[in-house]
Symmetry: D3
Subunit: 166 residues, 6 copies
């Protein structure tokens, strides 16, 4: 098929990047919500793996709850990252972090794996990728970051903005 009704994607994209900084209202973006959701995914997987086997009816019910929460929080990671990437990141940010498209896409795939499996490894990767994304985000805003253990289980390292020194 001859696909003719868009003459040029480039033309459209050019329009977009030129218009970037003036027509979007300044919004509040904060990757912490995605990071908390990624921590939650690890946590739910930990609790799943602690369930006594063979599964009793009560524990099968508990598993169904944990799976549902895991689904919801893995989707939340996708959604929150998509919003920051799709609304905030524009040409200047991509110039600073050219791999952002690939990083975001990788977060989507890894979050899907976390939905499909109950292995901790995928969830740890998800958190690592989301931390990477958070680190990039804060750098584009000129805000230094530091790592610390989350003050609640699963006590994994999280990238935080260093607001105290700011």
């Amino acid at each position: 098929m001859l696909y003719s009704f868009i003459n040029s994607l480039d033309k459209l994209l050019k329009f977009k990047s030129a218009a970037a900084h003036c027509d979007i209202p300044c919004k509040i973006y904060d990757p912490s919500t995605a990071q908390i959701a990624a921590l939650s995914v690890i946590r739910f997987i930990d609790i799943i793996n602690e369930l006594e086997q063979p599964l009793s009816v009560a524990n099968t019910a508990q598993l169904a709850r944990l799976v549902r929460e895991k689904e919801i929080h893995a989707s939340k990671v996708k959604e929150e990252v998509r919003v920051i990437w799709g609304d905030y990141f524009k040409q200047p940010q991509f110039d600073q972090f050219p791999d952002t498209h690939a990083l975001v896409h990788s977060i989507m795939l890894t979050a899907s794996k976390c939905k499909q499996h109950i292995d901790r490894e995928h969830a740890e990767q998800l958190l690592a990728l989301v931390n990477q994304f958070a680190d990039s985000f804060w750098q584009t805003k000129g805000i230094a970051t530091y790592q610390a253990k989350s003050p609640y289980p699963p006590s994994e390292h999280v990238v935080y903005p260093d607001l105290k020194s700011a």
Copy 2:
């Protein structure tokens, strides 16, 4: 009417507080989501008040969007605070902060005011109350807090956990 089928509310409540620490799975609670939502309410009100008057059709449409987001984020404040209060706070936390019930109820009323009005004052009060709640929360976990301006508009003071020194 003689309300007889609950012999004693006290009996029920006693059961509850005795059972508190063992039958709830350790969960991830973080008031930052409520704080971001409260900041967002201030921000939407600021943008509403910057709309040029008299309202054009385009600006009436924009107002409808901003009101919708304000509704959603004020409800999110209520929801997030309700979860931490209703799931995490139990007798030991209430012993430490006996006014928590009143504080949480006040957050509910103030969030309602933020939905009903477009005055910045209510939204500033909401953030102050949610910060107060966050401060209590971190104290019950033995984590020091500090204040800093949010690294995005509306650049208001927010209570953060001091994880760097932890």
Copy 3:
């Protein structure tokens, strides 16, 4: 940390209770939705406990459905009660029922137990507490109540407003 940016919670709360009766639109509150949700939680637990064991794949699937509905309805209890408590109850209602904060908090904890477990006892307690809340609510409005069995399973006693005699 010296928490200084709210000089006084009391000041805020005072403002709130003074402003209570004029700035809230008259709304429609009805605890029946919470009561139906609490009945549903009992019902789902009954059906869960009737599943033939060991669980076949079909029954494991059915269990997952029932757990999901139980989650949704227990959350609905929390949400509906939170709305009436957080929007409608103010100083005059608290004067009439000083234990309301504790009752509402107890509903939150008990609804959480209903999510975590498949024991009928927690769900019966939840209904009892929600009935207690409904009874208080109708009394604050000067409407008498009566008890009757719900006209559908699980046929438990429910507090209804006596509108016929009104």
Copy 4:
């Protein structure tokens, strides 16, 4: 087009009605939720019509909130009625109330009108139709009904099941 892959709709429908009473779990149906939503639609329209004109920015914001709530509650009427009709009503109930399909369809159309307009008349019709539906429902269960004014605004007549005499 010759539509051949369903040989006979009748065959499918026959299967359906034969299978009706054994394979559906006994559920909790209660039209009160739809009735409360219909009352709410009337109420929101009343408040809309009380807004001072010409609309200030604050009142335009309030109107946007009221419209949103009206949308949500009119959709809730549709959803709640669809569930009872689509899950509970089967051949025996249709034998008793042969006009139920038409009544339910009429509720859908009238709820749409309530979304599209701000006239009280449509909302009153919606409540009347939902009351009619509730009355049929309770009759199919052999439960008498009575009318009373709702114990909150808009104080319209509502059909309630007579559980006291049951």
Copy 5:
């Protein structure tokens, strides 16, 4: 009970059908969303039935996910069909397809069966009924249809509008 406050349902219904064509905004209706959801229900059932038995914890978790998706998509079928039936179908369409009420009701019951069971047969019936509904819909708009296999699993026959020849 003498149900008196609606003098006549006919009167209401008459009003409705007379008003049908002018007060509804022209909207976008497309049964394809319901058809995709029905295909998805078949697909989830296929994947459920491919799970290795006895179910491991990982597969019990996967089953919970599949059941949740099946619930969501079966509900989506109900919702999408209800919207087209309840918003678009009016007297002229019912004249053309007098069995539409029964067809739509049958879709509701069959979608419920798909939620309650994991048998492919119910899901195939659901797709057949939704295709029947789609076929009627396109005919009321004067658009021919054709059947083709869906270009993705479960590769079942779907009724499509013939837009190429239009």
Copy 6:
């Protein structure tokens, strides 16, 4: 800050692309839902621009409804495209369409513009981009496409898969 806890994003990404084809269940992807949502955005903007001015209260209410629907459908475009891009597109598809990341990001930005404005131009661009995405998608599956006018307003050109010839 030295960001050390991810040694190498490349390592993670490599793992990902290697694992791509075996651990994702075959799913049902169909861009038609995004295309219908994009058409709806154009339609809502058309109806908004037909509202009589100056806006009466009834029309201000109608505008609030239209804006809400526009928000919901523009978000739906984002969500549906994100799912196909984030779940289905992997290395082989990116090899075939190397600009997909940029195209998807452009859809996000354009959908945001459609939310912020009431100009038809943005919505037409959105549809063009979503059509471009749909065309790529069908090509990756080896299915030819054709253009036809949507069989409902706004009667814009849409890319459809050519299933008849398949």
